[in-house]
């Protein structure tokens, strides 16, 4: 019997997981770190430091402002140079804290020993408090503050905890390597979440194209009660929250509802690893694994990168030849965005930087829609992207709403499959953006 997968739509892009066997390298320290105060969904954090302050690794720089917000910690030690607006990922100005790196001095409270602490002594409330203090957000890309997600609303019951180790985007191997190298940490992290949510069993869902991770996880889960590995059939976009829930449990999350409404909680493996480090080792979230890959990268690899490291620092690390690079993408090739400013810092949400040669980069040369319906077949949400595109062109907000453009998960399957090379994803994103703005 073949493994489980979701049922509506989906595509099979080429995998290109060329860095799957490259161990996670320490990226080292940049000269200057630019730490944005907004690396999550919600309101920006309140800045606590000012020019000239000395900070250590793990020092709280900015405090969560309100419930939907997250703390930001320093990823380096040194002196705060300035607190001002700097050009971010898309060229727009963002509030950032600039720290000049001097040495690598960590806060004393962080446990830096490599031992794995298996015993969970804290109560669920204490664990949630720790997660909040560590500034943990969903590291799969959405950046939703984790403390809110782990606090179950009154009257709701969680039956499934799914740890998302799918990583369905081509090229990216950050989660894959994390599962191979930090398997036990992730499993203890899953046990911590089991305790918080008051359930007995966590499912680590892994795509069948990651045999190394599956083997390591299976071996270690044998000695743990309440954590299982579920191997999933490879299909894009299986890593999307609602698609994964459907694939694992067969439950469909209705439009406009949250996973918790159908009794499910999904956490990314990166987030679970961060939860382990925060709860057991007192380590705030200030570094993450980033894949730097693509055919214009001479030496593609996975790096453990401090938040605030400029992307150009990592591009130099893989010896990307600037003359050869035609396009730089932040994130995966399907959902990522092309870089406007290569000096933009790595945030808690950056999963990869991809360097492509000019002839490999997608440039929409839009031709007429031939009504083949391939985009409708590919859409994992069951939308009609071609119809949305024509409504967005006309700017008809009412029709866009009727076509449920707000349910689009922006996976890019439609644009990938379109034989007329219509940038359907761009149209859907534009429709969502304008519809939200018109309200």
């Amino acid at each position: 019997m073949s493994n489980k997968t979701f049922h509506i739509g989906g595509i099979h892009p080429d995998k290109h997981k060329i860095t799957t066997n490259k161990p996670i390298e320490d990226a080292g320290l940049p000269e200057i770190a630019y730490i944005p105060v907004k690396q999550h969904i919600g309101s920006p954090a309140k800045i606590l430091v000012s020019k000239g302050d000395k900070v250590k690794v793990g020092t709280l720089l900015a405090d969560a402002d309100g419930i939907v917000s997250a703390d930001v910690h320093s990823s380096v030690s040194g002196e705060v140079l300035k607190v001002e607006e700097i050009e971010g990922e898309f060229g727009y100005l963002e509030q950032m804290i600039t720290v000049k790196v001097e040495g690598d001095e960590w806060e004393e409270s962080i446990d830096r020993s490599p031992d794995i602490i298996k015993e969970i002594t804290l109560s669920p409330e204490e664990i949630i408090a720790k997660i909040r203090e560590a500034g943990i957000v969903g590291m799969g890309g959405a950046g939703y503050p984790t403390p809110i997600k782990t606090t179950i609303p009154e009257g709701k019951k969680v039956e499934y905890l799914i740890i998302n180790g799918i990583e369905c985007e081509p090229y990216l191997t950050a989660d894959d390597r994390l599962m191979v190298e930090k398997a036990e940490q992730i499993i203890v992290g899953a046990k911590i979440l089991n305790k918080v949510l008051g359930i007995q069993n966590a499912i680590i869902a892994v795509d069948e194209n990651k045999p190394n991770a599956i083997e390591v996880l299976r071996k270690i889960t044998r000695s743990y009660v309440g954590v299982n590995v579920q191997v999933m059939q490879t299909k894009y976009p299986q890593g999307a929250e609602k698609q994964l829930i459907e694939a694992v449990t067969g439950r469909e999350v209705p439009s406009g509802k949250l996973p918790v409404d159908v009794g499910c909680i999904v956490q990314n493996v990166g987030t679970v690893n961060a939860i382990y480090e925060a709860v057991q080792k007192n380590k705030p979230l200030f570094e993450r694994v980033v894949t730097v890959s693509g055919d214009a990268a001479e030496n593609p690899s996975n790096f453990m990168v401090r938040v605030g490291t400029p992307a150009s620092y990592l591009i130099n690390k893989v010896h990307g030849n600037p003359a050869e690079i035609g396009k730089i993408i932040f994130g995966g090739p399907m959902m990522g965005t092309s870089a406007v400013n290569i000096n933009a810092p790595i945030t808690k949400l950056s999963s990869g930087i991809l360097l492509f040669k000019d002839d490999h980069s997608f440039k929409p040369e839009e031709t007429a829609c031939i009504r083949c319906g391939k985009c409708v077949d590919a859409c994992p949400v069951g939308l009609r992207p071609f119809a949305i595109a024509s409504q967005v062109r006309d700017g008809d907000y009412h029709e866009m709403k009727q076509l449920h453009v707000l349910d689009c998960i922006e996976c890019g399957s439609c644009a990938y499959i379109c034989p007329a090379r219509i940038p359907l994803l761009d149209y859907c994103k534009l429709g969502k953006y304008e519809l939200k703005k018109s309200k």
Partner: protein, 282 residues
Amino acid sequence: MSGIIISNILILGGTALIAAIVLYFVAQKFKVEENPKIEQIEALLPGANCGACGKAGCHAFAVACANSSETEFKDLFCTVGGQAVMDKVASEMGYVAAVKEPCVAVLKCNGTCQNAPDKVIYTGMKSCRMANRISVGRSGCPNGCLRFGDCVKACPFGAIKMDEVTGIPVVDENKCTSCGACVRTCPRGLYEIRPKNNGVRVYVACSNTQKGALARKNCKAACIGCMKCSKICEAVKVENNLSYIPTTVSAEEFGASLAENCPTGAIICTKNSSSAEVKNEQ
């Protein structure tokens, strides 16, 4: 055989006659009186259905005119037809039309390819709406013209053209009817409707609210909020590092000196545009 044909004609003809009689009385009973002036006024209007008057189209405007009182009529104005059309409509109604100065759309950006050169290669869709959502734009200015010409497509009167040398749109003041289609279309709100004033206009051709140094980094013709203009004419306001010249400022009196004294050439006086261009090239 002929009997069948005759009976068919009689049955159908009889049904039609009964239906016609019923319909005649129903139509008499539910008759809607339409003001005959609506049709006459609509015939006078330009028929562009552009919505510049604030109504859904020319017919809706004609209805509003025909049903208006004398004071209400003063608020109605068809900018496309201008004073001539409004005077005709007014004589139809027996009122006097409001006197309004003709207006024209101006682009509050001078981010030409020369002043604000491209910093990144944009390979996405050639549309301002799309480019605005994706990123800050090719030049790096977060408020400036994206140079893809959505306004050219939106203009129902063909008054906006893309200048091939500068890369930014140019408004033909003779064709522009100040309908406001460009104001609604531009995703960055760069158009402003200002009085025509016989071709002499002075305005700030910049919308960048960043601090001076940052704004200048991306565009040579950016307003840096230096306050020099507000010293020449007190009515000029500088807020958010951006100067704004109210339409009440006399272009004849202050225009030339404002444009000449602007250190970046962000202020454009249409009568004096040659000197502003010289300054931009430096």
